[in-house]
Subunit: 381 residues, 2 copies
C-alpha cells in the first residue's frame, strides 16, 4: 500500500476534552428530551443487524409502531434517518414522474413537501392557507375536483405553526377521488389523537425525536395496502436507493435480505420509547398532552400573551405564541437558554420574528415543565 | 379533533420485556463492537441541533474527520444515515443526468455503486475484475482513455472480498483525464492507510460502524474543491432533498441554516470515536490493525485455512477465508454465534458459500479477539 512514502499530517489532530453538555430542557419544536430509559437503552452493547435477536427486536418495533399509529399496515418501519428522510421516502416511493400531487401548504413543512415532490418529477399543485390555519373538508373537496391528483399530501401537525389539520372524512374524500392520502405526523405521533386506519390514511411518516421522546436518528414510516399497490405498479425504479421501499421492505419483511446496515443502537432507543407509549397507553398519553397544553395556554394568557392558532385547531404538542409588539423574540429565547437552560424556538418563514414555538412533547409534557417555563418567561419579559 | 368518536385498538399493544441482548463479539464485516467510551457518550442527555454547544461539537467532528482522512476539505461532514446514505450522497451530488461514470466492479459494493449511479441518470460504464482482485494503474488508464468519464468510482476497501485497491497514482491519472475520483472507504477509514489529499481523491465516504468503532447511524462524507466546483456548476437541482449537499453544507458551514434535524446522540458517539482515533494516532492505529491481521492470517494458515486475497492486496480490517471443501459455511457461522457469541459472516454474491468474512476493526482489532476466534474456529471445524 506504499503508505511509507506519505507522511501523516497532524494539522487536524485536534485535542478535545471529554464530552460535556449543559442540562438543557428542550421545549422547542424538537428534538425534545429523550426519556431516561431511552438514553439507557441507546448505550447498550451492540449486536449485528442480521442477528436473530435483532430480528426479534425489529418485529417488536414494527408491532409497537402499529399500536402508536393505530394501523394494521404490515409495511410499518423506522427509516434509517431523521424525520425528513421518512418524508422523502413517502414521496420517492409513491410519486412517479408526471403524477399530479396536491399539497396543502399552510406552513414550512408543506413547503418542504412541495420542494421534495418536485424533485421526484411530480406535477405539483398546491392549495395555500395562511400559516396557522387549516383546510376545511369543503376546500379539500373543491381542490380534489379541480386537480384530480394521484396523491393528496397534508400536514397533520404543522410544527412551524402549531396547527392541527382535522383529518376526519379526508380519507373517504380521497377514495371518492381515487387518490392516496399522505400525512405528515412528525409532531403528532404519540402525543395527539391519530387513527391511521379509521381515518383512511394511506401513507404517514413521523420522527423519533418529538412526542416519542427518543433522540433524532430514526423516522417511522407506514404504507397502507393502496400505497403498496401503487408502489408495485411503478413503471420505473424508485429514484432513491437508500429509501427504496421495494428493497428496504425485504429487510424488514420475511426475507430479511440485507439492504443497508440498520442503526442498531438507535433502534434500541426507539424500542424503549415505543414500549413507554404502550405502557402508558394512547388514551392516557393523549390526555396528558392535552392537559399540559391547556395548563400552558392558561398560563400564557395570564402573562398577557396570545396564541397564534385558534383554540379548536391548536396542537397540544406545539404551541405558537405571538411576540408582543416591541419585544425582541430572539433576545428572549437567548435569555431563556443562557439563564435557565430552557430551549424554545422562534418562528420560521412567514412567522419568523412573529412567534415563539413551545413544544410539550412526550416525556417533556409534564406540569413542572410548564410551571418552570411560565416563571422563566415572566422573569425574562 | 373528534377523537371521541373512534376507539383505541389494543391489538398491537404488545408487552415486551426490558431490552436485553447477548454479549456478541462482532467479528464480521460490520458493525463492529463500539468502544465502551462511545457507548457512554451515546447515552448523554440531549441538546438542540442549533444549540451553540452542539455547533462547537459539529466543528470538532469535522476537524477530527479531516485528521482521520488526512484531508483539508472544508466540506467534510457526517451524513445523517448509515454508510449507504453517504455512498448515495456522493453520487447524487456529483452526477448529472447523462454524465459518464466509470465504476470499478470487483465486489458487491462496486455493484451497488452501479445500481445507485444508474438511478441518478448516469451513463454507467464498468470495468470488472474477479471478486478479490484489484485494478492496476494500467488497466485504469486504458479504461479512462476508452470511456472519458466525468467520475471514476473505486472501492478502496471491498467489504465483500477483503481486497484493498491501491490508489497511489490514480488521482494523477484522473487529473490527466479531467475526471473526479470517488472512493468508497467504508472499511478503511481509521484502520487502513489512507491519504485523501496526497492521493488526489476528490470524493470519499465511509461508515461509523467499521474501523471507527461507533454504532451505525452516521456516514462520513468529504468533497474536495474539484467536486464542490462540479456541484456548483450543476444545471439542475440535486434530485435528492435529504442528501442535497448544497443545503446540508449550509447547516454544517458558517450559515448554520436548519436543513434536517441532526441525529444528536449519534454525533456524540462519533465525536468520541474520532477522539479515540486522534488519541491513538493514525500511525499506531494502522500498525495495530496490520499486526492483528497478520496474527489472524498466520493462525488461519496454522489451521490449514486459505485466505482468498493475495497477501499484497489484503485488507487488515476484513479477511476473506476460503471455506474448505465439504464444510457447510453457514453451519460454522451459526455454531460460532450460538456456542461462543462470536459473529462472523458468509460471502456475498459471487463468493456466497465460498468464503467467510472476518473483520478486525477499530476497538475489535485486538490480539485476544484473534486468539479466541482461532480457538473457536478450531473447535468448530
Amino acid at each position: 500500500m506504499n503508505s511509507a512514502t506519505y507522511t501523516i499530517n497532524d494539522k487536524h489532530r485536534q485535542q478535545v476534552p471529554q464530552l460535556d453538555v449543559p442540562p438543557r430542557l428542550l421545549l422547542g419544536p424538537g428534538p425534545s428530551n429523550a426519556h431516561p430509559r431511552v438514553l439507557q437503552a441507546l448505550g447498550m452493547r451492540q449486536i449485528g443487524h442480521l442477528d436473530p435477536q435483532f430480528i426479534s427486536l425489529m418485529n417488536e418495533i414494527q408491532e409497537l409502531l402499529r399500536y402508536a399509529w393505530q394501523t394494521d399496515n404490515p409495511l410499518t418501519i423506522p427509516v434509517s434517518g431523521t424525520g425528513s428522510a421518512a418524508m422523502e421516502a413517502s414521496l420517492a416511493n409513491s410519486v412517479e414522474p408526471g403524477d399530479v400531487v396536491l399539497i396543502g401548504v399552510n406552513g414550512y413543512f408543506g413547503e418542504r413537501l412541495v420542494d421534495m415532490a418536485g424533485r421526484y418529477g411530480a406535477d405539483v399543485r398546491r392549495i395555500d392557507k395562511p400559516w396557522g390555519e387549516v383546510f376545511s373538508l369543503q376546500e379539500l373537496r373543491t381542490a380534489l375536483a379541480q386537480h384530480h391528483p394521484a396523491v393528496l399530501a397534508l400536514v397533520h401537525a404543522e410544527t412551524s405553526t402549531g396547527a392541527c389539520q382535522p383529518l376526519t372524512g379526508v380519507g373517504d374524500l380521497c377514495r371518492e377521488f381515487n387518490c392516496l392520502l399522505l400525512v405528515d405526523s412528525v409532531t403528532s405521533l404519540g402525543g395527539v389523537p391519530l387513527f391511521l386506519d379509521d381515518w383512511g390514511i394511506d401513507i404517514a411518516y413521523s420522527g423519533s425525536q418529538k412526542c416519542l421522546s427518543c433522540p433524532p436518528g430514526l423516522s417511522p414510516l407506514t404504507f397502507g395496502p393502496r400505497a403498496v399497490e401503487k408502489l408495485h405498479r411503478r413503471q420505473g425504479q424508485v429514484p432513491n436507493w437508500y429509501l427504496d421501499l421495494s428493497l428496504v421492505s425485504k429487510y424488514w419483511g420475511n426475507e430479511r435480505t440485507y439492504h443497508h446496515t440498520a442503526p442498531i443502537n438507535m433502534n434500541y432507543g426507539l424500542r424503549e420509547a415505543l414500549r413507554l407509549v404502550a405502557e402508558e397507553g394512547l388514551a392516557a398519553r393523549w390526555a396528558r398532552h392535552q392537559a399540559n397544553a391547556q395548563l400552558l395556554w392558561d398560563g400564557l394568557a395570564g402573562l398577557g400573551l396570545e396564541c397564534h392558532v385558534a383554540p379548536e385547531y391548536r396542537l397540544p404538542s406545539l404551541t405558537t405564541v405571538r411576540v408582543p409588539a416591541g419585544v425582541d423574540a430572539k433576545a428572549v429565547a437567548r435569555t431563556l437558554l443562557t439563564n435557565y437552560n430552557i430551549e424554545i424556538a422562534g418562528g420560521l418563514g412567514q412567522l419568523a420574528g412573529r412567534v415563539w414555538r413551545i413544544g410539550l412533547m412526550g416525556f417533556n409534557s409534564r406540569p413542572e415543565n410548564v410551571l418552570l417555563l411560565l416563571a422563566a418567561l415572566q422573569q425574562t419579559l
